[in-house]
């Protein structure tokens, strides 16, 4: 019997025969994998063959919350989507903010397991313990923001929604699962898996409360962690003031903002697309997710030009970069419009922008014949950017269909896979490893392909004085530490941004007080390491190898041309060996028996 934090029940939904079943949460798994990312991955490992075609009915999707979801723990409203991702066959875990996670928990379920495939488009309506399969034919093809509104109109105005857009329906390899109309579980193409099951969305409304084990201890942990964030200059300064886009000028000032498909890493026009400019030009107000004292979200409107009157959420730092600097575009209104479109179609902003950039380079170099492009694809052209995103969302022609599969498949199609700025077929985000060495190791070793939020080394390498961004020493250790910490944090239902101020001991304190489980800093990090290794084992069985732990050739061999990191390339070899040895893995990236034994994972190897 668990004293708090969890609701204790998992809902299993079979879309093939439209049956539902309630199952008890395993206390042992809760202690070993926490919840969300960790627990959800354990379910996939248990129930899904790693070799399965990700878009086959045999693949499953876990929609998971953590034990802190729906409490007043700061920034504790994350919801996680765990499945085998179609973009690159890795174990995918993708989390989003908004309000869905806490509401899902109030339905009485910690998680939902989706299995099988519906013969017709459907959505799920989970209302105070009643689960209903509803016809979604009239919603198929609808944009994400419209779907969110229609779902709430058809069910309950106070309900929360999960939905896919046209990109997920058409099984784009870079499609998202969206929440509340504009909050994204991006990366690895998780939207396509939901689309392959003919599931348009899930609407939840619950009335069950969430208890904690130690009332006074939890209140004290909430008070002290909120005080830490209130005193932190990032969590209470830069993020609420300028949003995540505060990073545009910061990362550009260290010459690490990839430009024109990473042909350079310094963007002279960065201030035109910065968080500061966004604040004066487009910001209406901040948006906070459930129980969040940071409220970094942007509610924006376009006030001038051809997209005047369009409004929505974002853009965040990553899409500003991918749709902006990466495509050589400095028109913030066009970038904002392109960002609205990625959200409305349910496309991954990072991958979509980087794919447009890849197409622009293929076009400019003549590798993509002019006849294949519906219009000239020139770097810096804001119209080409917006219309290409629209084509990727609509997939009405060959051009749109090809680009919707991501930059790797696009570049491979034209015989130049090296022009895809990706690792394990997934586009890397807005930090150039040539100028910030550690993040390259994180991209190369991330269990879901290139990613910054598996282990955000930028915090240690750029945002706080500590490590020299151009040094290789110490980067393996910090990468491993942050990867383990984040795996455990994601499993709690907490937001990564809390770690700008909070440490493992603070998270462990919240976790212990909520659940009654004995957990200190050391144990918390060990749980993270266990989750990391479990994900790794899945990927190895799926067919990935140490050879996949690399970076695009451009990052390894073409020096940055201008700016503060001019002349730099990334030497991954200087960190990778040390990283494997710290992980207790062999030189070809396989966990050793001894380490798996230490982590209690011997059964899964």
């Amino acid at each position: 019997m668990i004293d708090g934090g969890y609701q204790g029940t998992i809902l299993r939904v079979n879309l093939t025969d439209r049956s539902v079943k309630e199952e008890a949460l395993h206390e042992d798994w809760a202690k070993r994998y926490i919840g969300g990312r960790g627990y959800g991955t354990r379910i996939i490992v248990d129930e899904v063959d790693p070799k399965v075609d990700p878009l086959a009915p045999e693949n499953k999707v876990v929609i998971g919350t953590g034990p802190l979801d729906g409490t007043t723990a700061p920034s504790s409203g994350r919801v996680m989507v765990i499945t085998k991702g179609p973009l690159n066959n890795t174990i995918a875990c993708s989390n989003a903010g908004g309000y869905f996670g806490p509401m899902l928990k109030r339905t009485g379920y910690d998680m939902i397991i989706l299995e099988g495939k519906s013969s017709e488009p459907v959505y799920l309506w989970i209302n105070k313990g009643k689960v209903e399969f509803r016809d979604a034919k009239h919603l198929w093809g609808k944009l994400v923001n419209d779907t969110d509104r229609l779902l709430r109109e058809e069910t309950h105005l106070e309900a929360e929604t999960m939905e896919i857009g046209p990109a997920g329906e058409k099984m784009s390899m870079i499609s998202n699962v969206m929440f509340n109309g504009h909050r994204a579980s991006g990366r690895t193409g998780v939207g396509a898996v939901v689309g392959s099951k003919n599931l348009k969305g899930i609407v939840v409304r619950g009335n069950k409360g969430i208890s904690v084990a130690d009332h006074d201890g939890f209140l004290e942990a909430v008070r002290s962690t909120r005080a830490i964030l209130a005193a932190n200059p990032v969590a209470s300064g830069g993020l609420p003031l300028y949003g995540t886009a505060v990073l545009v000028n910061i990362i550009n000032s260290v010459g690490s903002l990839p430009v024109r498909n990473a042909q350079d890493a310094y963007f002279p026009e960065a201030d035109k697309i910065s968080g500061e400019t966004l604040r004066t030009q487009n910001l209406v107000r901040n948006e906070g997710c459930s129980d969040c004292p940071i409220a970094c979200g942007r509610v924006t409107v376009i006030k001038e030009g051809k997209y005047k009157g369009e409004h929505g959420g974002g853009p965040e730092y990553e899409p500003i970069w991918s749709l902006g600097a990466m495509c050589g575009v400095s028109d913030l209104n066009a970038i904002t419009m392109a960002n609205y479109l990625t959200d409305r179609y349910g496309l991954d902003g990072i991958s979509a922008g980087s794919t447009v950039a890849c197409a622009m380079e293929l076009y400019e170099k003549g590798y993509m014949p002019a006849k294949d492009a519906p219009f000239p694809l020139k770097f810096g052209d804001p119209d080409a950017l917006v219309e290409t995103i629209r084509a990727m969302g609509e997939q009405k022609d060959e051009f749109g269909r090809l680009l919707a599969q991501g930059s790797y498949r696009l570049a491979e199609h034209y015989g130049h896979p090296e022009l895809s700025m990706s690792v394990k077929k997934q586009e890397f985000p807005a930090y150039d490893p040539r100028g910030i060495k550690g993040i390259g190791l994180e991209y190369a070793t991330s269990n879901r392909g290139a990613c910054h939020v598996r282990g955000y080394t930028i915090a240690a390498e750029v945002l706080s004085p500590g490590l020299d961004r151009l040094a290789y020493e110490g980067k393996a250790a910090v990468t491993k530490f942050l990867q383990d910490l984040t795996a455990a944090l994601d499993s709690l239902g907490m937001c990564l941004f809390t770690t700008f101020g909070m440490q493992a001991k603070d998270l462990a304190q919240l976790y212990s007080a909520a659940t009654g489980f004995d957990c200190d800093e050391k144990e918390f990090l060990k749980i993270g390491e266990r989750i990391w290794n479990m994900e790794k084992l899945f990927n190895l069985k799926a067919g990935l190898t140490g050879k996949d732990d690399t970076l695009p050739p451009r990052i390894l061999s073409e020096p940055i041309v201008t700016g503060p990191s001019k002349g730099e390339v990334e030497d991954l070899g200087k960190m990778l060996g040390e990283y494997y040895s710290l992980r207790g893995w062999s030189a070809d990236s396989v966990p050793t028996k001894e380490r798996l034994q230490e982590l209690g994972l011997q059964d899964l190897s």
């Binding site: 729906g70 409490t71 109030r106 069950k208 409360g209 208890s211 904690v212």
Partner: protein, 146 residues
Amino acid sequence: MDACSFEKTNVFNPLDSRINVISFHEDLTFIPTVCTQCEIPYCAEVCPTSALVKNAETGLVDFLKEKCIGCKQCVVACPWGSIKINHLGKEIIKCDQCGGDPACVKVCKAEALTYVDVEDAVSSKQHGVAEAYRRIASEMEKGVNP
């Protein structure tokens, strides 16, 4: 709403929160609603057992749980929707301002919620308006009294 329900019931459940936040998703606007502690409280007027009474000393409309028979006429009478029923649909719940230290205000970092004396609130509004007049006046070439 999480903070309020935890303060009052030791469980996180927005349905048991005394304060409510209405979300307008299209333009992402959030509006809080809470008991206004009316001077002539309709809820108290319709209550057949005087379970709701205006407290002259504190200014609050007190809810005396032991007197309540659960007829829910107060829920109907309140124009604001601020007399609520709990998540089980049985017990009446309403805001008591946490004895002067509201849990909702403590977690509202945006200061969308503040707890101030009504006289100070009035005075602060007057100052704001006066400040605006002062600014306009200083911008007028001939001054306020030409």
